[in-house]
Subunit: 225 residues, 2 copies
DNA sequence: GATCTCCAGTCCGTATGCAAGATACAGGAA
DNA sequence: TTCCTGTATCTTGCATACGGACTGGAGATC
């Protein structure tokens, strides 16, 4: 028998979750914005049940905050949050790169180059949101090739916040894309050459500089989008 | 006004989640056992809604597997799973210890000593399950004092599986508790002395030896409890 | 005996209804 | 004016109902 398997249609919960996740990440909603289950269910054309379940999942990803009997809100990062998130992100990414290098170097390098090309394209001809999305894809490559599902899961658990911060906070910064692009090139070079220590320090610089930028924006009045 | 605040009663979802989590971790249910929402809701005396939500959360912790339209099952680890989990656990714990050492050394040390004493007590006078629980508490100390919520969250995301493996797989092994206890003592000593490299290697040995033990049990026929 | 078909039982996905807590605001008392 | 209080209206928490999808087995067919 040939393989005729069809993929399952996504459940409403999954659809709603993805839709809301994108809305938050792409800054269609501001930090702290209120989300009523009923209003959402009406806007999305489904009942409250799948909306409710999707919100519960998003809470576990840190993208929304559910306050019992009060309401659900888009997450609102504090400076401290962002700092801890960046430190954690660095831990995960540096470990993932280590695993990539020792286990799937060629495949990872190829994927990184593809992602880099997409970033260049977005920088040249796309919007800043396009660039932010391509940036997100680049960093996901590490985890797709690291060969450890748990590492990937842990990253997925924070990737939403990371991506949201990227869009909300770095998109408006002038010159940020160009600096970021240069650092990504350096990372790929170091990876290709197998210089792990260099890679680590570039990654560290990359993430911590992003943190600085975010902190500045946060201090100067929160969500600018 | 004196502080009269009352704590919120836990939601049914939280209660059900905790109850099921404990049931799985304490090996009241075997790996792969089937969990019907309806049967659970009846057994727990609540409706299907909170049960359903609790199961969704447990899935994200990797403790159950939900197969659409078929049913929900207690997770069933493969050898590969366990290997990846151990590697990941080592990554998280070593990072957490590093943070503890640099940020909250005294408090962490005190808490580790407390946890160690509880383990000794369980080893001397408790059941093997008691020891397993005390072991779990010991490792949680790292994350309570590491000062990074994201690191703690990531650990919580796998701690259920770790704890479940501990109970299901290591409880039946002869002499395992004593070896484990000795290693924990070594860890605390190294931490107290600030010997980070030693600490790392002890932790690595500790986790990887546990992995060996689990793998043996798994190969010899799965869940023995 | 092997295979197919149908059916009953079980499970989940979703919609909806009701109850209870939280909040905002108007209106009255000091 | 200022403070308190009752109430309308919002929110979520949970229960329940219905329908579709899947599974396993009895019986028919070859």
């Amino acid at each position: 028998m040939p393989d005729l398997r069809v993929e399952q249609p996504k459940s409403l919960v999954a659809i709603v979750e993805e839709r809301l996740r994108n809305a938050i990440i792409d800054a269609e909603m501001r930090f702290g914005a209120s989300l009523s289950e009923e209003a959402l269910s009406e806007a999305l054309g489904v009942s409250r049940t799948p909306v409710r379940e999707a919100l519960a999942r998003l809470q576990l990803q840190g993208l929304v905050t559910i306050v019992p009997k009060k309401g659900t809100f888009v997450f609102a990062p504090t400076e401290e949050d962002v700092a801890e998130l960046c430190v954690f992100r660095y831990m995960l990414e540096t470990q993932a790169l280590r695993e990539c290098m020792s286990k799937a170097r060629a495949a990872a390098l190829a994927a990184m180059n593809d992602a880099l090309a997409a970033m260049e394209a977005a920088l040249a001809g796309g919007t800043r949101h396009d660039y932010a999305r391509a940036d997100t894809v680049f960093h996901e490559v590490f985890f797709q090739h690291c060969g450890n599902r748990y590492l990937g899961n842990a990253y997925r658990g924070v990737s939403g916040r990371v991506a949201a911060l990227r869009t909300h906070l770095s998109v408006p910064l002038e010159g940020e894309q160009e600096r970021s692009m240069a650092e990504h090139h350096q990372m790929v070079e170091a990876f290709a050459a197998g210089r792990l220590a260099d890679l680590d320090s570039i990654l560290h610089r990359h993430i911590m500089r992003a943190w600085d930028a975010y902190a500045d924006v946060l201090r100067s009045g929160g969500d600018p989008v």
